[in-house]
């Protein structure tokens, strides 16, 4: 009898989880009708399971887990394959960084930074980079002046006679 009980006990867990085959099920149920110790074992298993379930239920009720729920919800939404816009909207509403208190100063800072940087950038680039026609100019005998015009497109290099100081003094 003890041998039968030990083999039934091995099946009892599977029977309790409803994972036995129909043949095993008949075998276990027939044995349970006659064996008190196995009935006790089954009852103990049932009590233990209900106790664990109760503990878990109480724990989840006491602990408010919105984060867990949001995650589950997001998982459900993802399974539904939302559109890109829906995804952005959900991200905007859920993300704490995109609350008005955060994004307004961030946008203002970025805007002012861009404004300052573009001002610097544009100052560095000459407005007429192709205007400089004369690369260098020198003369041994004359003073030189260079005039550059854009309309008409003319560059004038004008040579002036050097005035002799001695001759002007006398």
């Amino acid at each position: 009898m003890k041998d039968i009980c030990s083999s039934i006990l091995r099946l009892l867990n599977k029977y309790f989880d409803q994972e036995v085959t129909p043949r095993e099920r008949i075998l276990v149920e027939d044995h349970l009708k006659e064996c008190r110790s196995c009935q006790k074992s089954l009852k103990f298993m049932e009590e233990l399971r209900s106790l664990i379930n109760l503990q878990i239920r109480e724990a989840t009720q006491e602990e408010d887990l919105p984060w867990l729920w949001q995650k589950i919800e997001r998982g459900i939404h993802l399974q539904e394959r939302p559109t890109l816009w829906q995804f952005i909207q959900s991200w905007l509403t859920s993300s704490p960084f995109l609350k008005k208190k955060v994004w307004i100063p961030v946008v203002a800072t970025l805007g002012s930074f861009l404004l300052i940087s573009t001002q610097i950038f544009y100052k560095k680039i000459p407005s007429h980079p192709d205007l400089s026609v004369v690369e260098y100019v020198e003369s041994q005998t004359h003073n030189i002046m260079v005039y550059e015009f854009d309309k008409p497109k003319v560059t004038i290099i004008w040579l002036f006679d050097v005035v002799d100081k001695d001759s002007t003094a006398s």
């Binding site: 400089s132 690369e135 041994q140 008409p152 004038i156 004008w158």
Partner: protein
């Protein structure tokens, strides 16, 4: 198979010619005297008439010399101009629409002017000031490519 030896030199010369034509620059040189003796603009300077009137206050413009020269990289071209002066033009480089040209004006072994200019289509570089006759000499340089 027999055509291959002929095709190769043709192809090479074609490449050479295209590269040379890309490097060369056609320049127009006009030398004229500007003065306040008399009035009027020489007929060959008519296209520059409005420019000259707006830029200078001379009453008369008389063309002395007009020449077209093809410049090749680092090959100086010497052109005699009025009053024992001569102008030397050397193409230094060319990039898309800009040709860098070295300009030297010499008189009796002295450099009256030594400059390097960037010539682009439609732009004229005028060098003026040296005395000539009753007025001054003006050299107008432009490029076509």
């Amino acid at each position: 198979m027999k055509q291959t030896p002929l095709l190769l030199p043709i192809f090479v010369s074609f490449l050479l010619l295209t590269s040379l034509s890309y490097a060369q620059v056609q320049t127009r040189l006009r030398v004229f005297e500007a003065s306040n003796v008399g009035s009027g603009i020489d007929s060959s300077l008519r296209d520059m008439g409005d420019q000259l009137k707006s830029l200078f206050s001379f009453s008369s413009y008389r063309l002395l010399r007009e020449e077209m020269h093809t410049l090749y990289p680092n090959q100086p071209v010497l052109v005699p101009i009025a009053s024992r002066r001569e102008i030397e033009l050397t193409l230094i480089g060319k990039q898309r629409n800009v040709a860098e040209v070295k300009v030297k004006i010499k008189q009796e072994q002295k450099d009256i002017l030594n400059t390097q200019v960037r010539l682009s289509p439609g732009r004229t570089v005028s060098i003026g000031g040296p005395k000539h006759g009753e007025g001054v000499l003006i050299i107008a340089l432009s490029a076509h490519f």
